[in-house]
């Protein structure tokens, strides 16, 4: 996909009658919201996308069509009805057992999740990129919380998200939006970690910001990262039923050098006292057997390189 900015010219040649009246656009923002007070207005407002996403359009126009054929498995498609329901095989308490009264059903053996059956190949069952979670942990945060500041600023520049605030609002607690400070769950005396000590920064990207992050990563960062040959594929012996194979998440890590290659940071790299590595989790809608392969096919279609481990 080439990037060609010819929209201005298109707009210039279009007859004026088909354009939407500027008066509609210049209406005060508050009048379009149903809120009563200015404080409510800021809480309820949700800014939409400021431009269309190139990768999303690529998915709709080309990639989804190709995935429909690439991911088609005739055996799965024809047997989708005949497969036994996995939840029917899950263990049950004996009704005579008094211990079982008012208890939830026992957990399945083997420490494995119940894997859903593969379904028909259809536009609805195609994998979609749901979110990208970017996360960094740094031991330097344990000694002083302020060591997280450069990391926060770098994340703000890379992802365009602002830190989650303590106040209610679009980036408030529990919103799932914005930069979140991660905290240690357990204490560990040997690592000098207290329970609840800040350890790093995490952000969940969705929608437009997710696609623009992936686009930046694939177009500017990964091709220039000399130590990166591709997202490693697991060995052939990797169990097909393992949680990592069935959850449809493609995860990989980037070294600290990668942060300096993001264009947003590259323009004033001197401003940042330190660069950090990051873990990236691309969460897709694929679930069940073969979900990892579907997720990789999707990411590969977006231009992410994969490599076999030597």
């Amino acid at each position: 996909m080439k990037r060609v900015g010819s929209l201005a010219r298109v707009a210039a040649t279009r007859p004026a009658a088909t354009r939407i009246s500027p008066a509609v656009l210049s209406r005060p923002f508050a009048s379009s919201s149903s809120s009563s007070s200015p404080a409510d207005f800021h809480r309820t407002i949700t800014p939409g996308p400021t431009s269309r996403s190139r990768l999303k359009d690529h998915y709709n126009q080309t990639l989804s069509h190709d995935l429909l054929y690439t991911l088609y498995s005739h055996a799965t498609h024809t047997n989708a009805d005949a497969l036994p329901n996995p939840s029917s095989r899950s263990p049950m308490w004996s009704p005579e057992n008094p211990y079982a009264l008012n208890r939830p059903p026992p957990r399945p053996k083997g420490n494995r999740y119940l894997v859903p059956n593969p379904s028909y190949t259809s536009p609805e069952s195609l994998p979609v990129l749901e979110s990208i979670v970017v996360e960094t942990m740094t031991t330097s945060a344990l000694s002083a919380k302020s060591n997280l500041l450069p990391l926060l600023m770098a994340y703000q520049a890379i992802t365009g998200e602002v830190p989650q605030s303590r106040h209610p609002g679009p980036y408030g607690p529990g919103s799932g939006k914005g930069l979140v400070i991660t905290r240690s769950a357990k204490k560990s005396a040997s690592f000098k970690v207290r329970a609840g000590a800040p350890t790093g920064v995490k952000v969940e990207l969705r929608g437009e910001s997710m696609y623009s992050f992936l686009e930046t990563l694939v177009d500017f960062v990964l091709p220039r990262l000399k130590t990166f040959s591709g997202i490693p594929l697991p060995p052939a012996s990797h169990p097909r039923q393992s949680p990592s194979s069935t959850s449809g998440v493609v995860s990989f890590g980037l070294p600290p050098e990668a942060m300096g290659l993001f264009p947003q940071i590259e323009i004033n790299l001197d401003q940042y006292p330190k660069t950090f590595g990051m873990n990236i989790f691309c969460v897709t809608s694929a679930r069940g057997r073969g979900a990892q392969d579907q997720a990789r096919a999707l990411l590969s279609g977006f231009g992410a390189p994969f490599v076999k481990r030597g």
Binding site: M1, K2, V4, G5, S6, L7, A8, R9, V10, A11, R14, T18, R19, I20, P22, A23, V24, L25, S26, F29, I45, P47, G48, P49, T50, S51, R52, R54, D57, N60, Q61, T62, S64, H65, D66, L68, Y69, T70, Y72, H74, H77, T78, Y120, T121, S122, P123, M153, A157, V162, Q264, I267, N268, D270, Q271
Partner: protein
């Protein structure tokens, strides 16, 4: 998502007999006397769109509005320029210049031209490239650079009056698969100068037709053919129609243009497989 309809319907018939096809094809080569359908594989070769489609007036206005909204909710300018841009750099200058332009237009909010163009101003971009290519201006249907915001399909022209235009196709030989047959026929008919990626191993659709009676008299064995279309994408190179195969031309066409070239029956079978975008 047009293709899905054909995929599910065609595959249920096509793939059920896929294993049977191989044995059938093998039998056909030995027992020529029985009249049956000839199995043919066609390459549904396409070039994906290279450009995004043009924005509609509504989309354009929506994004303009949203840019303004984001700007209004953004942090104060002084904080962001000092942190995000190196002092005196070209990027800082262009950012500040844009902001001053917006400030100047703030009194006259009806225009909003700064926001309309915000997506277009790329630092260091040499020139705005047009949506129309050289091939579009000349009307060259053989070029891969025409209609860059649409999916194009390769049609080949045979030297005959009826049904001259069709997708590259040919009979399945011995025990090769449908995909192998389609790829072999594509190389035979258009030459080795094209890199092609097969999207899947299963056909996207099928088309059945009867041979003319005179043809059956001359070539007994089959009274008709069943064509399976295998979806593929062109990666690079260009088709060169092979004259020895009786081909006189080729064209890269959009869905609507394909309709004009092929017969009504053929179009009915092929239409759900082709992309509207």
């Amino acid at each position: 998502m047009v293709q899905s309809r054909t995929l599910s319907s065609a595959l249920s018939t096509a793939c059920n007999c896929n294993s049977a096809l191989r044995t059938q094809a093998r039998h056909q080569s030995t027992s020529a006397a029985s009249s049956s359908q000839r199995i043919v594989a066609a390459a549904l070769l396409s070039r994906p769109p290279l450009l995004l489609p043009a924005l509609t007036p509504l989309e354009e206005s929506y994004y303009t509005y949203q840019r303004r909204l984001h700007r209004a909710l953004a942090k104060p300018l002084s904080a962001s320029t000092e942190w995000f841009f190196k002092k005196g750099s070209a990027s800082e200058k262009s950012f500040v210049a844009f902001d001053q332009k917006v400030d100047k237009e703030r009194g006259d909010e009806g225009e909003l031209s700064a926001y309309v163009k915000a997506g277009e101003e790329v630092e260091g971009a040499p020139e705005v490239v047009g949506r129309e290519s050289e091939a579009d201006r000349k009307g060259d249907v053989t070029s891969l650079e025409r209609k860059m915001d649409r999916t194009l399909y390769l049609l080949l022209k045979k030297d005959r009056k009826d049904n001259a235009w069709q997708f590259p196709q040919g009979g399945v030989e011995a025990d090769e698969s449908l995909l192998e047959a389609a790829q072999r026929e594509l190389v035979e008919e258009t030459g080795p100068d094209m890199d092609v990626w097969a999207t899947g191993r299963a056909p996207a659709g099928a088309y059945e037709y009867k041979f003319p009676k005179e043809f059956v008299k001359k070539n007994p064995g089959h009274d008709g053919a069943r064509v399976f279309f295998l979806p593929m994408r062109v990666i690079r190179g260009q088709a060169k129609p092979n004259k020895k195969e009786g081909l006189v031309g080729h064209a890269w066409l959009t869905k609507e243009e394909v309709k004009e070239k092929v017969s009504a029956d053929y179009w009915k079978a092929v239409e759900p497989m082709l992309s509207d975008l």
